[in-house]
Amino acid sequence: MITVNDFNGKVKPDWCPACGNFSQLTAIKGALTELQIEPKNTVIVSGIGCSSNLPEFIRAYGFHGLHGRVLPVASGVKWANSDLTVIGYGGDGDGFFEGTQHFFHTAKRNVDITYIVSDNQIFGLTTGQASPTSEIGFVSKSTPDGNIEKPVNPLTFGLAAGATFVARAFSGDPKHLTEIIKRGIQHKGFSFIDVMSPCVTFNKLNTYDYFRKRVYKYEAKDLKDFSAAYRISEEWGDKIPIGIFYEIESKRYEEMDPVEVEGPLVTHPIYSVKDEDLEELV
């Protein structure tokens, strides 16, 4: 029996008190526990940013890599050992600026990874510059006169790319967040969860209060309805929906690759070349 304590890391998180990342850490541990996934079979791959420090704070196999490169590393891990539960974790700058191309293509490939983005609509670690999800007019160190660039919508982007699981959650609702992460991990294929996660130090606009006033729980009538998912993903303003917007079953990359289907690559024996293999070169 695996308990939450099994996932307790020995390093204490160094995030600012009340940072939205805390509840995501708790939620990830909770979801893994509920699913009885062993720490030894869990790999958390992150990028660079405040949020990306997370692997250090959890007892599992952690990979704290480069800014923007969460998903290719996570894909490599999954393809090397498809028995592992692979979670990609990073910031909005990490995923939607520096890592945009990887997000697009990993979603499209339907690699069996759960990708959680701590979306605080700002660069936290670099002390407060506008991010790809910062709202128009948002004043930050890099946009002292207010942001003039339209924010990206990670959810419609994920849908357009072909993600087979798309959800939004809120750090201020840890129970709901845990449930969504659990569903994301259970999903067979690429699952994307955008977590609205207040940066209490640098983002004075998108605060806990801001979200508490606006978020409501969305229950999809038909999770397979792409148009409905797209429409709900576009909703942002006075009301902000959270929940699972879209989920379909579709072949995973690992199911289609002729070598991957033979089971986790790490378990394949090393190929021993026979002389006959080389006859084509004579």
Binding site: G9, K10, V11, D14, P39, K40, N41, T42, V43, V45, I48, N53, P55, E56, R59, A60, Y61, G62, F63, H64, G65, L66, R69, L71, P72, V73, A74, S75, G76, V77, K78, W79, A80, N81, D83, L84, Q101, H102, F104, H105, D257, P258, V259, E260, E262, L265, V266, H268, P269, I270, Y271, V273, K274, D275, D277, L278, L281, V282
Partner: protein
């Protein structure tokens, strides 16, 4: 001028892109190899799919051949331009010789100025081909078989290669063989044989390209995953691996860019399989940041770096050894980076296998650097299926108490746990960390830990140097003059040395295949020589700079940067001049 050997043939087929020059060249190379002759090919082409000019050369001999060679015995030309270019005594093809032998071409080509050293052999190539098929490329087969007839190659040997090339059975293969036979007989009936006689044999030889050899060597070395983004000349390896993926049980992925390719390979190695990535200079530039990450997290990684002429897109189909500075300088900070540069096709295989062992044992990036010439030419080799023992490096036992991923050791190497192992969970971090992998750079920077970890990682350099095999030399024992070469220039340098030795010049070579870290024994080798000469296929002498700064020696530099490899006679002359300078 230097006299080339009588006991060899230099064959060349010329035409435009789309004329089937390369496949014609390969048919000839295979035919030579099956006739028991050693062969080396040379591929001259442009960044264009149709038109322009291209040619393919094959040098064959019953004795081992080490480069594409000088001289030209037999020219098959598929157009008029080729005839004019390759018979011109003032030929301008990057050092290749003009024809002094026979030219085989279609009789419809009549508009050319006759050259003294050329015997013209016009043939009804298209007419013969037209009897069997409308496909204009069939005339190539007719011309090749005429060339085979001119030097007495057994028609059945050539027919075998032709059949295989065109899908063994079926109408196309039959048409080609029939047309070839008519071409073969036509030549014999109308023209005398070429003046050189070759000793054919039953020797079993494999014909393989450098890029393919890298891929094959990787498979021998236990490769399980290859992730890349296509770029000439790294693609010959990619194509080989992709087309053999199922046979060799290999996961191959072309991903969205080189950044993802290298990060995927790192993820694969981290999770316990042998993974490799590859590109040319432009693509490798995008991989730079991840090279340092592999070193920091101490994850094994082999990077295949196939150089072409730079800067920027440069000459995409031309050779150069211009990426050494780039590879040396890739990624911020100090760390152990090991650079191999195979010197010939066989070594492309063996060193790649070794690179996979070294990367996993030292948990650091290892480069296999080749150039376009090596990646895209073929050589005959005898025992391709070489013996190799895989060494997966130090691994901790499951459940080991108080596991430290970055344990401080004398060698600098720490036992490496992979995900899935019981009780060894830990964090691997691109931030500076302590022995456990916990970050020491965020809340409080611990200078002591930093120093310990930096020194631990760098200690791997000395551990590696201690086990380096001695640097190889060629005719160096009594040499007053030493020529340094690295990578693909080995064959041409050796031949240039042989040519100079015939003139009683005491010259030898130092042949570098383990470029960095530099072997300290080089210091002893260069002692009390009259002159050190460095030969490089680039503008500035990038290895030369390394050599001088490490061993504080004076050197003479010979470079070539027109996009072509060195040719032996040309190089011998340059070395002779450098000695006289």
């Amino acid at each position: 001028m230097f006299n080339m050997s009588d006991n060899e043939i230099v064959f060349r087929v010329a035409g435009a892109a789309g004329d089937g020059v390369q496949s014609a060249g390969l048919i000839m190379a295979k035919t030579f190899a099956r006739s028991g002759l050693y062969a080396v090919t040379y591929n001259y082409y442009q960044d264009i799919v149709r038109g322009g000019e291209s040619w393919y050369q094959v040098r064959a001999s019953p004795k081992k051949v080490r480069n594409q060679g000088d001289g030209l015995d037999i020219l098959v030309t598929l157009n008029e331009d080729g005839l004019v270019r390759h018979t011109n005594p003032n030929i301008n093809e990057g050092g290749a010789s003009s024809l002094s032998g026979i030219a085989i071409f279609d009789e419809s080509i009549t508009n050319y100025e006759k050259q003294q050293k050329v015997d013209y052999r016009p043939m009804p190539l298209s007419t013969i081909a037209g009897k069997y098929s409308k496909n204009p490329l069939l005339k190539n087969t007719v011309a090749l078989s005429a060339a085979a007839a001119s030097i007495g190659i057994d028609f059945e040997v050539m027919a075998g290669v032709i059949k295989e090339t065109f899908g063994n059975k079926g109408a196309v293969a039959d048409q080609n063989v029939q047309a070839a036979k008519e071409g073969y007989d036509y030549f014999k009936a109308h023209y005398p044989p070429y003046g050189k006689k070759l000793d054919f044999s039953k020797r079993k030889l494999y014909l393989i390209g450098g890029g393919e050899a890298v891929g094959f060597g990787a498979v021998k070395g236990g490769l399980k995953m290859y992730t890349a983004y296509p770029m000439t000349p790294a693609s010959s390896c990619l194509h080989y691996l992709a087309s053999h993926a199922r046979k060799f049980d290999l996961f191959v992925k072309v991903s969205e860019d080189e950044i993802s390719a290298i990060n995927m390979a790192i993820g694969g190695n981290y999770a316990g399989v042998r993974a490799m990535t590859g590109s040319s200079g432009g693509g490798f530039a995008l991989m730079t940041e991840a090279v340092g990450m592999a070193a920091m997290l101490e994850i094994p990684l082999v990077i295949y770096e196939a150089q072409r002429s730079g800067p920027s897109t440069g000459l995409p189909t031309k050779t150069e050894q211009g990426d050494l500075n780039q590879v040396m300088g890739a990624s911020q900070g100090d760390f152990l980076k090991i650079i191999f540069a195979p010197r010939n096709v066989m070594e492309a295989a063996t060193l790649t296998a070794e690179a996979l062992n070294v990367a996993e044992r030292f948990q650091t990036p290892v480069f296999v650097m080749v150039d376009l010439y090596l990646a895209e030419h073929s050589e005959t080799v005898e025992n391709l299926n070489f013996d190799f023992r895989i060494d997966r490096g130090e691994r901790p036992k499951d459940g080991q108490a108080n596991y430290k991923r970055y344990l401080i050791t004398d060698t600098g190497i720490s036992p490496r746990a992979v995900p899935g192992q019981e009780g060894l969970m830990h964090n691997e971090d691109s931030d500076e960390h302590n022995e456990y992998g916990d970050v020491v750079s965020d809340a409080v920077t611990d200078p002591k830990d930093r120093i310990k970890m930096m020194e631990k990682r760098m200690r791997k350099m000395q551990t590696y140097i201690n086990e380096m095999p001695p640097t190889e030399t060629y005719r160096a024992d009594d040499a007053e003059y030493l020529v340094f070469q690295w990578g693909s220039t080995q064959g041409v340098v050796e031949e240039a040395i042989d040519l100079l030795r015939k003139k009683n010049i005491k010259v030898g070579a130092v042949e570098i295949n383990r470029v960095f870290p530099m072997n300290p024994d080089i210091g002893k080798i260069i002692k009390s020589r009259k002159k050190i000469i460095v030969v490089e296929n680039n503008y500035s002498g990038q290895y030369n700079s390394l050599l001088k700064s490490r061993f504080l020696c004076q050197t003479e530099l010979i470079t070539k940067y027109d996009g072509e490899s060195f040719f032996p006679g040309e190089l011998a002359t340059s070395i002779e001049n450098a000695i006289k300078r």
